[in-house]
Symmetry: C2
Subunit: 323 residues, 2 copies
């Protein structure tokens, strides 16, 4: 069996409480005994059992990270950053995939709560009501969605959309199409609102669509029918699907139609033509979200809303219109 605090106590001839304090309250134990105890612990290979510790302290030093779909290229950078930041703060992270299923999401949260100090909800599909209820049991921070009175980190797509529309207007585009995402998506609504608020060009709203390549592929005929010379897609995956569909019909990008995506995921950087896109600061979002979470964990603060800037990355899929 693994070596426990009692083994260390016995080996060093002190009481377990002294060993415990040697680790977690150094100032309460004689420096000499402390170093002796630590040395003995070291060569016995003792490692405190975090779960046992959590039982009395109420701090598990774990957080939960719940995402809709790990395999969606949007999330891995966020997960990676969150995990790295957590490690910096000496936290471990559970990650769970809900497969876009609210049912699963709720159950996951339920079973996780006792083992974590807080959970990060990324693009949750749960209703606001459910989230507010669950909130009683464990601190949250929500990423990529607005939930009243809850600590949140948002990425300002609105700004990105404005930048994109200006960029397109500058290239002479007057008629745009916005290929929207799933109907429940906060991001999609933001994009529509931002696009609608700009006077630069006419914009047709096409959707809702699934947030995937297939969604983009399926939207091609509508895009063509709309007569738009430039398209803003819900995300890069949709944009790539769109470009495939256009290519199949012999329509040149950006020669005939310009395309802009959202997210700046790896595939977009590698596509042909390379995709112009609105970059979402996902890594920063992950990092900041865990900081907010840990802060709200040990200060019970209500926590505010952090809005992260987005930017436009111009690559090869946008160009002047010739129509």
């Amino acid at each position: 069996m693994a070596v426990t605090i009692r083994d260390v106590a016995e080996a060093s001839g002190v009481h377990v409480s002294t060993v415990s304090r040697a680790f977690s309250a150094p100032h309460l134990v004689n420096p000499a005994t402390r170093t002796r105890v630590l040395a003995i612990a070291e060569d016995l290979g003792y490692r405190p059992n975090r779960a046992a510790r959590a039982l009395t302290t109420g701090r598990t030093h774990n957080i939960g990270l719940i995402v809709a779909d790990i395999a969606n290229p949007f999330f891995p950078p966020l997960i990676k950053a969150a995990q790295a930041q957590a490690r910096l703060r000496d936290y471990h992270v559970f990650v769970a995939d809900t497969d876009e299923d609210p049912q699963v999401e709720e159950e996951l949260i339920q079973t996780l709560t006792k083992q974590v100090d807080g959970v990060l909800l990324c693009s949750p599909r749960l209703t606001n009501r459910t989230i507010e209820r669950l909130r009683e049991e464990v601190p949250f921070v929500v990423v990529n969605r607005r939930v009243k009175g809850m600590p949140t980190v948002l990425m300002d797509v609105g700004r990105g959309v404005r930048l994109a529309v200006e960029h397109l207007a500058g290239l002479g585009h007057r008629r745009l199409a916005l290929v929207t995402g799933p109907s429940g998506s906060w991001t999609s609504k933001e994009m529509q609102a931002a696009a609608a608020a700009m006077g630069e060009a006419d914009v047709a709203f096409l959707g809702p669509n699934p947030p995937t390549e297939l969604g983009g592929l399926a939207a091609v005929t509508d895009v063509i029918a709309s007569g738009a010379t430039a398209v803003l897609a819900y995300n890069d995956l949709v944009a790539i699907g769109l470009m495939e569909g256009l290519a199949e019909r012999g329509i040149d990008v950006p020669g005939d139609i310009s395309v802009i995506g959202v997210d700046d995921i790896v595939p977009g950087r590698l596509s042909r033509p390379k995709l112009t896109t609105i970059a979402m600061p996902t890594a920063a979002a992950g990092r900041i979200a865990v900081d907010m979470l840990l802060q709200s964990v040990d200060s019970d603060s209500t926590g505010g809303v952090t809005v992260l800037e987005t930017s436009l990355i111009v690559r090869e899929s946008t160009g002047e219109t010739h129509s």
Copy 2:
């Protein structure tokens, strides 16, 4: 505070041990009391504390999943599948990113051991010796690397390479280049061995290279110098980098040079031309790895080696040679 087993006991007028058994040893309690207790637990919102339970049972119902780089597109499907399978078995999963650093990897394992029943090591960078030592503390299963006497799941790249070489030979290619990966990589060695063992064509080994786009980009001059008409790259990322570099030099793929990658990651499916690649069954690997892990957890079996088939997916980056 959260509702505990004692709250339930009190509310239902029985001893805590009865409540405990109502949950985890149903046959030891009167069906009538059991349903009553369960009902009361339900509407008190009681959820057993898994960490506390683990203290006595020795089963945490958690596993650890350690990967080199979450953001590398190779891993997310594996993580997703592993997590899904774990959930099926009522397990939660910690995922940790080592950033390719063996130091971090070891430390992560150390701090995780007490909280998990076992850990999945994906493409570990640790030395065999270290792995064998750590093994004393927690059950492992290793993915994508061979470690003597340890439960392992491997993907048979060798077969994929043979298929690829045959495919190329069939297209008339006689002179190939293999752009290898990092020097420590098991996969890279397997690929070299398989390629060397085939008589179909001459093959030049170019490397080692970092397993990224940049690695591919950097290998371009060597590839050209080698006079090869077809290239097999360490992975899809390298292949994509290669294709960029070739395009920059005005060399057509597959017209002038054919390119094959390994992994079948999403970006390869979306690249232009679409990448011919050796598909690695990462999702299956994740699923099977957790099953092997859980099995070795509750049977102490030494566990064998599972080898998964790979296959060749022919897309657009390979074609007949005209030289």
